[in-house]
């Protein structure tokens, strides 16, 4: 068993709000330097830079988890994480069919770059990624779980785009694997939400949009056998000797 330092919420330059320095190669290089063992690339409503991150991480010792931060029709942000690229590709296609038909306005929101593992530009994504899909929180949870993925309610301490701000409380029928607190979560606001969170595991991640955020932002420690999603799921459930520590 080993302790792994994980950041399960990192934006690449595909997210219009992220800095262009957030290339897969640069994220991996900084993960190595900062001692981050597991990185989930989680862009808004898309996953086109995940494959490049997986290739950039080969031989680095850093494990990349395919992920996406999806925005539901209730304007809730959910982190979705996968083990296998095969399942993630199915999820990406599914989300694409449920995205808004709006086009991105680069001047207002920023450009959405798809790059390769050497930082070379592949294309610019024209679709508006910063908008709600027409999927409900329930539909997202069901679809992701059917593909073997994890669903984590993002930044539940924040006043916008969080499951708690949008829906007041966590719907009892919604199956979540964890909730995430943002880097801004102060003790008081976190405490206030404990009652709303119940027994759900709490993770911290950077929600990085810049390298500075990524290097300095919060992480979660996972006590696991190996850096796989199956192991991390057990750690969230505190099963078989696995556990997490913030």
């Amino acid at each position: 068993m080993q302790w792994l330092r994980a950041d399960l919420h990192v934006h690449s330059l595909l997210s219009p709000c992220a800095a262009v320095e957030m290339t897969p190669r640069n994220i991996i290089r900084n993960a190595v330097a900062a001692g981050v063992d597991v990185v989930a690339i989680t862009d808004h409503n898309a996953g086109d830079n995940v494959a490049a991150a997986l290739r950039a991480a080969v031989g680095s010792g850093v494990t990349v988890l395919p992920g996406m931060e999806v925005q539901t029709r209730e304007e809730v942000h959910l982190l979705t994480l996968f083990e296998k690229m095969r399942d993630f590709v199915v999820w990406c296609d599914f989300v694409k069919q449920h995205r808004s038909s709006l086009q991105n306005d680069e001047r207002k929101f920023g450009a959405q770059f798809v790059v390769d593992e050497s930082d070379e530009l592949v294309r610019i994504e024209p679709a508006m990624l910063l908008a709600s899909t027409d999927l409900s929180v329930q539909q997202v949870a069901e679809q992701v779980h059917s593909l073997g993925g994890l669903v984590i309610a993002a930044h539940v301490d924040r006043p916008a785009y969080s499951l708690i701000s949008q829906l007041g409380f966590i719907p009892p029928e919604l199956r979540l694997d964890a909730v995430e607190f943002s880097k801004n979560a102060d003790g008081a606001s976190a405490q206030r939400r404990i009652g709303l969170i119940g027994d759900l595991p709490v993770i911290h991640s950077s929600d990085a949009h810049t390298i500075e955020d990524f290097v300095t932002g919060p992480k979660t420690m996972f006590h696991v056998e190996s850096p796989t999603l199956a192991e991390m799921r057990q750690a969230l459930e505190a099963g078989n000797g696995r556990r997490i520590q913030r």
């Binding site: 304007e75 929180v137 829906l167 409380f169 719907p171």
Partner: protein, 110 residues
């Protein structure tokens, strides 16, 4: 003014009517952030929103609202309608925008 009269004046489509139609309406409230509705809305108000998730019914019930109006042509989920009937919360929908629905409600001098 009674809820039944508000429904008539705003030409609302009633989706769940097991609640009390003769409850006096005391005013209106507008927000799509349920966390704020829980803290700010007052009992007896009509709440206009574009959220169709079933949590709106629990919030309405908690606050003691007269009714929930889902505006902007949004179709509330089936579970939301079922929960409204079960918890005796009046649930309506309208193709009017939130702005228009709130404006009409305000003109009723509530």
């Amino acid at each position: 003014m009674l809820m039944s009269e508000v429904i008539k004046e705003l030409e609302l489509t009633v989706l769940a009517d097991t609640g009390d139609m003769n409850m006096p309406v005391t005013g209106g409230y507008v927000s799509d952030l349920l966390s704020h509705v829980m803290g700010q809305a007052q009992a007896g108000q009509v709440w206009i929103t574009m959220q169709g998730h079933q949590n709106i019914i629990a919030v309405a019930s908690l606050v003691g609202l007269s009714a929930v109006v889902v505006a902007g042509g949004i179709e509330p989920e089936q579970q939301t309608i079922a929960k409204a009937k079960e918890q005796e919360v009046i649930l309506c929908k309208t193709s009017l925008s939130v702005y228009e629905a709130a404006g009409r409600l305000y003109r009723l001098s509530l």
